[in-house]
Amino acid sequence: MLYHIGFTVEAAARTGLTEVWSTIRIQARDTESVYKYILAGEYGNMSSSSSTGFNEVVSQSVMELVDAYVRFSVRRGFSTYHVDALRGVNFGIGKGEIVALIGESGSGKTTLGRVLVGLQPLTSGKVLYKGREVSKLKGKSYWEYRRSVQMIQQDPYTALNPSHRVADSLTAPMMRWKLVNSKSEALRRAERLLETVGLTPGSEYLNKYPHQLSGGQKQRVNIARAVSVEPELIVLDEPVTMIDVSLRIGILDLLLELRGRLGTSYVFTTHDLALARYFLEKGGGGRVVVMYAGSVVEEGEGRDIIRSPLHPYTATLLRVSAGLRPTPAAEDNRGRRPGPSWCRFAPRCPYAVERCWVEEPRLRVVSHSHRAACHLAGTLDLRIQ
C-alpha cells in the first residue's frame, strides 16, 4: 500500500519531530506500520528498513504549501474589493512526481503555480522547498530554490523576448547560473538542447528570432530553456492550451521523455481532463488535484479520480469531457444568498443540501489517499457510465 503522508504543524508538535515539513510517500503493510515509522522518526533515512514494518521510501518532498492563502486587494475608485485566489490550500509534490492540477480560470491553479516558483507571495501560510521555508531562505540557498523550480507558461509568444535570438534566450540562464564555463560551451549545450526538444538542426534554430518560429516551436524553445538549468520541479501552466490541437500530444510526449531522463517533477495545470489523463497515464501514474474557487475540492491518484470521482464538480467535468450532458443544478438554487460559510460549488451543484449553504466542507480522506471536500462525499455514486 502506498501512503502519501503530509505532516502538519499539529502532528509535528505531538510527535516531537524535528524536520517537520517533509511529505513522503511510503510503502507499508498497513497504517499501523506507518505510524510506528513516524514515531520512530526514521523518515529522514532513505534506505529501507524492516524494523518499523515498511518496505521502501518512495519519494521525498520537493515543495509543500501549508495552509496557503493569497488575497488580492483591488481598488476601484473609493472602494476596495478582495479576490481570494487561494483559500487554505495544502499541497505537496515529491521528487519525480507528476501532479495534474485541474481547474477553470479563477480556480486558483495559476496562482498556486506562481506561488511555487516564487512569483507570488502568500498572504498567509507557508511555502517550503525541500523542507525549508522559502521566506526564510537567504543568499545561496534562496537562489538554489529559484533555479530549481521553473515554469513554462501558457503563452509561448510572450515568454520569449522578441529582440533576442534563440541563442541568447537559451544561453542567458546557463550563464547566469554559472552552469557553464564559457559562452561557447553554453552555445554548444544550447544547440544540443534544441535538438533534444525536436528542433533540428539546432545550429539553424539558434540564429532565429521568435517571430520566425511557429507557436509549437516557440514552446519547444521555452521547454529547452526551462530544462537547461536542470530544475527539480517544473510548473507547466497550461503548456499546450495555446498550441494547435494536432500538435499538443507531441509537446506532452517531449515533456514526459525529458522527465524520464532528468527525473524532474511536474505540476501540470490544465482544464482539459483528457489531456491530464493522457499525461498521467503515459507518465506512469500520478496524482490529480482538483481546484474550485481557490480551494482544493478533490485529490487522489489519477486512476481513482477518473474511475470514481467523489466531488460533484469533478464528476461534472468528467461527464462533459466524455461528451455527456452535465447534470443540471438543483432548481431552487437560483439567486440564493449564502451565509458566512458555504460550499462555493453549491450554486451549481445538482446534489446541494441545506448544510452546503451554511458550512464550507473541509477536505477529508474518504478512502486511502483519495480526499474530497464535500459533505456528501462517499454517499453519492458519481461514476460516469
Binding site: 507557436g215 494547435d244 494536432s246 500530444i249 507531441g250 462533459v320
Partner: protein
C-alpha cells in the same frame, strides 16, 4: 430552398512589402437556413479571415482577390460601404471571444445594448430597455442584476453570454461564433454551446461556428467543414466527419486527440509543423505532412469531390483504399 449564405471561389490575401500570402484559396462553402455549420481550422487555416470576409471587414493589408459572398442572393463584396454598415449586425453578426476584451470596460452592460441599438436607428428608450431585457433573459442572465454591471464584474461565462445577446439584438439571420469558448472550462463551454443551439433552433437562424477544437462540434453542429492553410479539406454531416472521415488531414487530426477512456497508445500528433504562410506550397497544402503523399500531391492541388451523398473531400486518394490503412 436557396441557401442563406454562399461563398464561391473566395480568395483573400495579405501582403506586406513584396510578399503576398493567400489566407483563403478558392474557398467554397454553403450555409443553409436553420443550420449550424462548424468551420474547424488550426493556426494558419484562414478561419478568422473567413469570418472577417463574411462580415465585409477585409481591409488593407488584406485584399479580396476573387470570388463572391452571397447572403440571400446579394454579393457582399459588391455592396457599398453605407449598405454594409446596415448589413452588419442586422443580417449577419459576430460573437467574438469574450477573452478578447470585446466589451467596453467603461460602459455598463445596458449601455452596450443601448449603443448598438442607437447606432442602428432605435432611439425609443422604452424599446431599448425592452429589447435589452429580452436579450439578456434569453441568454440566461438576470437583467435586473446584470444590466447595471460593468464587464469586469462578470465571470468569463457571463461575458460570453452578453456577447451572444448583443449579436442577436437586431435579429440577424446568420450569426458567426468566433471561438466562443476558449478560456472557459469544460462545463461552461458545454453550457454556452447548448445555449447557442437552443437559440438557433428556436429562432430558426443559422450559425457559423469557427473553432480550432474539433472535439466541440459533436452534438452541436449539423455539418462540419475542415479548413487547412486556406483550403477546404473536407465537409459533411458532423457525425460523418467524426466517425467516417475521407481526408488524411481529418483522419490524423482526430487521431491527435486524447480521450478520457480509450488507449493512450494510439494518440499521436500530426508530424511536422503547420506550414509557414510566407512560403507558397505547390499542390496539396497538406502534402508535406501527409503519410499518403505521392508525386501528384506535390503538383496538383485537389478540388473537393463528392465521396458520398453530401460528403466532400479534397484529396487525390479520397475514394481509394489507402485511406483505410490510415484510419487503422
Amino acid at each position: 430552398m436557396d441557401p442563406l449564405l454562399e461563398v464561391r471561389n473566395l480568395t483573400v490575401s495579405y501582403s506586406s512589402g513584396k510578399a503576398s500570402v493567400k489566407a483563403l484559396n478558392r474557398v467554397n462553402l454553403v450555409v443553409e437556413s436553420n443550420e449550424i455549420l462548424a468551420v474547424v481550422g488550426e493556426s494558419g487555416s484562414g478561419k478568422s479571415t473567413l469570418a472577417k470576409a463574411i462580415m465585409g471587414m477585409i481591409k488593407p493589408p488584406g485584399k479580396v482577390e476573387g470570388g463572391e459572398i452571397l447572403l440571400q442572393g446579394e454579393d457582399i463584396l459588391k455592396t457599398d460601404q453605407e449598405k454594409l454598415r446596415r448589413y452588419r449586425w442586422e443580417r449577419v453578426s459576430i460573437v467574438p471571444q469574450a477573452s478578447q476584451n470585446a466589451l467596453n470596460p467603461t460602459m455598463r452592460i445596458a449601455e452596450h445594448f443601448q449603443d448598438v441599438l442607437r447606432y442602428h436607428g432605435v432611439t425609443d428608450q422604452g424599446k431599448i430597455r425592452e429589447i435589452t431585457r429580452s436579450r439578456l433573459e434569453e441568454v440566461g442572465l438576470d437583467p435586473d442584476r446584470v444590466a447595471s454591471l460593468y464587464p469586469h464584474e462578470l465571470s468569463g461565462g457571463m461575458k460570453q453570454r452578453v456577447l451572444i445577446g448583443l449579436a442577436l439584438v437586431l435579429e440577424p439571420s446568420l450569426v458567426i461564433l468566433d471561438e466562443p469558448t476558449s478560456a472557459l472550462d469544460a462545463l461552461n463551454q458545454r453550457l454556452i454551446l447548448d445555449l447557442v443551439k437552443g437559440l438557433q433552433r428556436s429562432k430558426g437562424i443559422s450559425v457559423l461556428f469557427i473553432t480550432h477544437d474539433i472535439s466541440l462540434v459533436r452534438g452541436f453542429a449539423d455539418r462540419t467543414m475542415i479548413l487547412y492553410f486556406g483550403r477546404v479539406m473536407e465537409i459533411a454531416q458532423t457525425e460523418r466527419v467524426m466517425s467516417d472521415p475521407y481526408n488524411p488531414y481529418t483522419i490524423l487530426l482526430l487521431k491527435a486527440l486524447p480521450s478520457l477512456t480509450g488507449s493512450v497508445e494510439g494518440v499521436k500528433s500530426i508530424p511536422g509543423e503547420p506550414p509557414d504562410p510566407r512560403f507558397y506550397i505547390k499542390g496539396c497544402k497538406f502534402h508535406t505532412r501527409c503519410p499518403l503523399a505521392q508525386q501528384i500531391c506535390a503538383e496538383v492541388d485537389p478540388d473537393l469531390t463528392t465521396v458520398a451523398p453530401g460528403h466532400l473531400s479534397a484529396c487525390h486518394f479520397s475514394k481509394s483504399d489507402v485511406l483505410k490503412s490510415l484510419k487503422a
